[in-house]
Amino acid sequence: MARMTLSGIKKSFKSVDVLHGIDLEISDREFVVFVGPSGCGKSTLLRLIAGLDTISSGEFHLDERRMNDIAPSRRGIAMVFQSYALYPHMDVYENMAFGARLMGLEKDEVEKRIDEASKMLRLDPLLKRKPRELSGGQRQRVAIGRALVRKPKVLLLDEPLSNLDAALRSDVRLEIARLHREIGGTTIYVTHDQVEAMTLADRIVVMNNGKVEQFGSPRELYERPANTFVATFIGSPRMSLLDVERNGNHLALPGSGAVSVSRLPHSDERNLVIGVRPDAMTVSTDESTDGFRGNVVYTEYLGENTYVYVRLGDGTLVGIRSSASVDLPPDTPVVITVASEEIHYFSRATRERLAA
């Protein structure tokens, strides 16, 4: 079992508040990803969970046990570091055995665990090598192996793919997903890469400025973003946000005309932000179409699609996914139609999602 409860977690370094009250419930066997722009506090939160930094205020419980004052080595938590942090003077076997021995395990048990881990991670031929004789991907596997031999309740991974080249990254990502299924503990994974977050996570914690913006499954985050930050952070290319004024069932955009929509938010706020993903819009050169008017700025041809970037009347730049055959020169006047069903509504005042 590994159920984690974080309530009101705050962290300040001297007078700088880094985390402003984090509340999270993480269930056993869950794969949770902390994602957010750099400086959002996700790595700090991970270090608090690990025990490497002290919690300024708030409570952290693991399986009903208060962890705030427990030493990192006694929490039943293992961590894989961004730089892997292997002990340079020990070979691969020693790197894995070091922590296991310190847990007071019998010699046989240590050997058995290393054997299991090295089979699972294909480390057998490397056991006698020193870290400097390994490639990045191999070091990564050793770092994971070192964490696994301790059989932790919770495995923490701090941007584990950031030091690998692009080709290796997707392999290791699959490997981590497989390991999580096989080991069956709770895994917390920190990244700034939303693709890693979306592909790996059961649930994602989106963080910004030391706060949790939303905690939910990848599908929830993508389909029902709680606010404009999550809306633009998840999804690539990003969702376009338009400041519109509601008039009956019309949404007016200054300088670009108005469109009528079949689905509106329940709130009666007049000033709204609408969010539209690149695939929820179509671009047309037929001036009589009902939609927002604008001018093409540039197009990106990507083989299967072309992204058309259009400047609207109020200066907003929107990206639209179109078929690859579309080829519009810059400055072409176009009309953008929006699929009503796919519009996300947010309050202009609070930037929070409005139910529609």
């Binding site: 270090r47 030493a71 570091f81 002990y87 340079p88 922590g99 070192r146």
Partner: protein
């Protein structure tokens, strides 16, 4: 062709390299070689006599009273080396560890530990001689003030404490050096490696012995080798604090004093013997070079790239 860029470049390089090379040759290489040569001659004062082969070496190693003096001084150097290894390097390592862990007041202590190192050895010697004065020294006054008058000793005046007093004065003076070298070594250890250890143990002892110590091996090589050379060349502190005779009656005699006394004579009038002195200098040089070479070679082998 004069004036061409290549020629003027060569001239420049020569102009920069030749003077220091000449300087080193004249003031370092030449004296060493001539000391080797002097050791094989008989000397009358500073006038060179006939070639005597290894007679000077035989004299200092196997004839009395030289042989006893040589062994006595050599054993004291060995003592000094091991005592300083513990007091100076051991303490230096621990101080470096404390400074590195940024305990409260680290900035102040970093300076205060290193401050004595920049003092001249002569000043430190006189300072400690005053500290240890039997009547007016701050050490004995402090003991008496604390009601521990029984611990007050004539530190430099009795066999049992004289050498130790010198060793402590030297450790006080130089402890900042190994501290600084170890601290630099520790600061090269990546923070994440330390975090990784903290995830596996909370024992400071395990962290120090299993992780930090092996990772500062390059610093240890430097510090050990320099301490070895320094211990067997030890001269200034004993010279200032106990004089050329290594008083009281040879209890603090070390190779440096003994060589100086033998080669150049001393106030109390014993004759000077340049041949025997040179033989001693050569022996000291060869011993230090050999052992320091072995130490460096052995310790290099356990260094690893971080």
């Amino acid at each position: 062709m004069p004036g061409s860029p290549l020629v003027s470049r060569r001239l420049w390089i020569s102009a920069l390299i030749v003077p220091p090379l000449a300087f080193v040759a004249l003031f370092v290489v030449y004296p060493i070689i001539s000391a080797f040569a002097y050791a094989f001659f008989h000397w009358n004062g500073l006038a060179r006599g006939e070639f005597v082969g290894f007679a000077n070496f035989y004299k200092v190693l196997f004839t009395q009273p030289y042989a006893d003096w040589t062994v006595n001084a050599f054993l004291h150097n060995v003592w000094v080396f091991f005592a300083l290894m513990v007091l100076q390097n051991g303490l230096g390592f621990l101080l470096a560890y404390c400074l590195w862990r940024e305990l409260p007041g680290a900035a102040f202590h970093r300076i205060s530990v290193f401050l004595p190192v920049v003092l001249s050895t002569i000043i430190v010697g006189f300072l400690w001689k005053l500290f240890l004065h039997p009547l007016f020294g701050v050490v004995n006054i402090s003991f008496r003030g604390l009601g521990l008058g029984g611990l007050a000793q004539p530190w430099l005046g009795q066999d049992s404490t004289a050498l130790w007093s010198l060793i402590i004065a030297n450790a006080w003076h130089m402890v900042g050096f190994p501290t600084l070298v170890f601290l630099a070594g520790m600061q090269r250890i990546p923070g994440e490696i330390l975090d990784a250890v903290r995830m596996e143990t909370e024992s400071e002892w395990t962290k120090i012995t299993k992780i930090v110590w092996p990772l500062v091996a390059p610093s240890a090589t430097v510090v050990f080798t320099l301490l070895f050379v320094g211990s067997f060349n030890w001269f200034e502190i004993p010279y200032v604090m106990v004089g050329l005779e290594g008083s009281p009656h040879g209890a603090t005699d070390v190779l440096g004093l003994y060589f100086y006394r033998t080669a150049f004579g001393n106030m109390s009038g014993s004759g000077q013997d340049f041949g025997a002195g040179s033989a001693l200098a050569v022996l000291i040089f060869v011993f230090i070079a050999l052992v320091a070479g072995i130490i460096t070679f052995k310790l290099r082998a356990r260094e690893i790239q971080i």
